[in-house]
Point group: C2
Chain length 445, copies 2
Amino acid sequence: MSVLEDLAMAVGPKHVLAGEAAKDDYHHDESLTVPAVCPLAVVLPGSTEELSGVLAAASRHRVAVTARGSGTGMSGACTPVDGGIVVSFERMSRIIEIDQANHVAVVQAGVQLDQLDSALAPLGLMYPVYPGEYSASLGGNVATNAGGMRAVRYGVTRHQVVGIRCGGKVAKLSSGYDLTQLIAGSEGTLALVTLAYLRLYPRPAFNATLLAPFSTLEAVAAAVPTVVGSGIGPSILEYVDMLTMAAMTAHSGIDLGVADEIRSTALAYLVVGLEARSETRLEEDAEAMAELLAKAGAMEVYVLPPGSAVQLIEAREKAFWVAKANGADDVLDVVVPRAAIPAFMAAVAEVASSTGSLLPGCGHAGDGNVHLAVFQPDPETRHEVERRVFEAGLTLGGAISGEHGIGRAKRDLFLELEDPAKVELMRRLKAAFDPLGILNPGVTL
Amino acid sequence: MSVLEDLAMAVGPKHVLAGEAAKDDYHHDESLTVPAVCPLAVVLPGSTEELSGVLAAASRHRVAVTARGSGTGMSGACTPVDGGIVVSFERMSRIIEIDQANHVAVVQAGVQLDQLDSALAPLGLMYPVYPGEYSASLGGNVATNAGGMRAVRYGVTRHQVVGIRCGGKVAKLSSGYDLTQLIAGSEGTLALVTLAYLRLYPRPAFNATLLAPFSTLEAVAAAVPTVVGSGIGPSILEYVDMLTMAAMTAHSGIDLGVADEIRSTALAYLVVGLEARSETRLEEDAEAMAELLAKAGAMEVYVLPPGSAVQLIEAREKAFWVAKANGADDVLDVVVPRAAIPAFMAAVAEVASSTGSLLPGCGHAGDGNVHLAVFQPDPETRHEVERRVFEAGLTLGGAISGEHGIGRAKRDLFLELEDPAKVELMRRLKAAFDPLGILNPGVTL
């Protein structure tokens, strides 16, 4: 039996898309550097049982398997292997349960963030991970350990996933190895996630957004530990540099009410989100935060009206698209200890000037997660730029990626820069899960 | 060269304790059921380099290696193997760094919780995991993924460990498999933890403790989801059943001011800890919580004076010792989804009555983590009791242990009740780390 026939046996012929039917969308994700690849077929399982059949067929034929959610990833982890198959979860997109008593949602891998949010909002609950793209799937978020702006308060996907078949609705467990945590962030190289148990939180009733321009990026970065240490517990703590802010506001047409003389001299901004259970507390917190930011050297502190606040957060979430529209050649998301942001940014400035590149950025300052757009059209120079930026992050005790993952995009530099003993151990772990090496070969390892 | 000579080469002869020098304390932990074993030797490395030498020697001689912190574990995970060695971390007990800007402590494995707390308190910081025994070591806490009362707000050890050599001071990362999370909770079977990077938090300025008696255990359990869902965010949420409360107060001589007519009819208590940044907020929260508890059916709500509150929390932390002093034969810590506590406790009552056992308890209600003392002297009947209690927990979507770990104490029942496919995968993962099988054989797997 041919591979395609075998796959058709597992999921039914109309759920195996080959040739023309395996549309362009399935050939890539949002990475700016990983080339699109047309797979042998796109397979759409409707259940875990059907997926088991697909994996059995792939094992028999030694065909590479790449899992795909909504394709909103940034590192090519769902870009297919030539001759391999894509497993797409669009038929497994059911919210199985929202368990209000245990604050747990049980979702199939193909459920999208906006779909889950629509179901949670009427119940006064929320799932706190917003990686900037609401059409992202939960399966993809688990596979890449997605982050986003609210991680400074709630943590990243890893902190919300309490189970994926293994695990479950329990708040904690110490019963054998934590396979859930090992699989989270493994980018489809160890297992395919079909079902996730996710922690839910009470939806905060009141929100405010503060915007604080600073005269230098160093001043912004220096303010961050003070904000985190204050105990006020911001839900968002983002920095945006001048270039990125200008591009963002121009692209979305927001007027944030920042006075001209400040806008022309501010080199960076801090965006601080606050949330509270009562209006009084929110006001108190906003006042305390404004005072603290002023003391930390903000040129001014604006409490944004709700409309502009929403626009600014949306614009920040779309910063990647602005960078892309402006012709960025790549996007990085190095993470460093948050107090090391100034040192890291100094290193980045040095790399930019010495290579004639432009590296504007913004990022999750509270997490030390710096997003840089790379404007450097020459591939060799760009490789050099990225290697030096990654090295600077690693030297400061950081890592190559805080939330985008390694995928195919950063695999070479990951293998070049990572401790070889750790890479060897990772390979042994992969072999324990995937002895045939058919799960997303060429991703991460 | 003999094993002992080889070990002496690695750490110096005076740091290899054999025969009489390997004192009784090294033969066991606090498990009530795992028999003490005298090891071939106790080895005290002074650095990671020395430990590497120890492991190389153990590999050459195929000698089992058991890591030991303070020996406060509850499942025999640091009880030696006959003929094996114990690696004890008392010479590696230095706080390397308290990084205030990044809210991270870097500690050697032998650092004790009370030692870390003394260093943090003057800085207005805290490490939030208190597994009831302040002499516990951080290395041991990481190895067992220790929990404790504050997990309902802050999470367990797993949520605080951002690195153990691998990883580091970063708030998140998505760069390869998360080895830190795999090793956390692996009870010394995959690797020895020498150094941990731990998240720190602002030390809350104001605390209050509420005590609410309920007429039934079911009523207590039913109140828990309401408390968690309120958004007030308690830092402690414990239930204590009547028998345990009576034993605890008698043992520590506290007078909680509970009226006689209530004490004689209350079958269970909820203990709620609150913390806040200001006195006003604490008072508001305490009032809101008291109202909520009253609505949920509390017979009365007491806001404890600071002295009694401290005594009660300490008594709760010592509940294990009270059970032991009263002759308990074992202690379990099953975890279930928190809304399933009533169903679980009903099953426990059924097991108790049908086997003529006494199973009083208390536990981390907010986490669904139920601690049961087992009074059943007959080993065979006790095995049956524990099997049925574990099965009840697993059927409700829970796990055998929420924080004590599997160790040697619950290994047989773990292997009997756990999914064989998961056990097989765990064995392959262990082989990837420990191909010779010398790391804590007989623990967990």
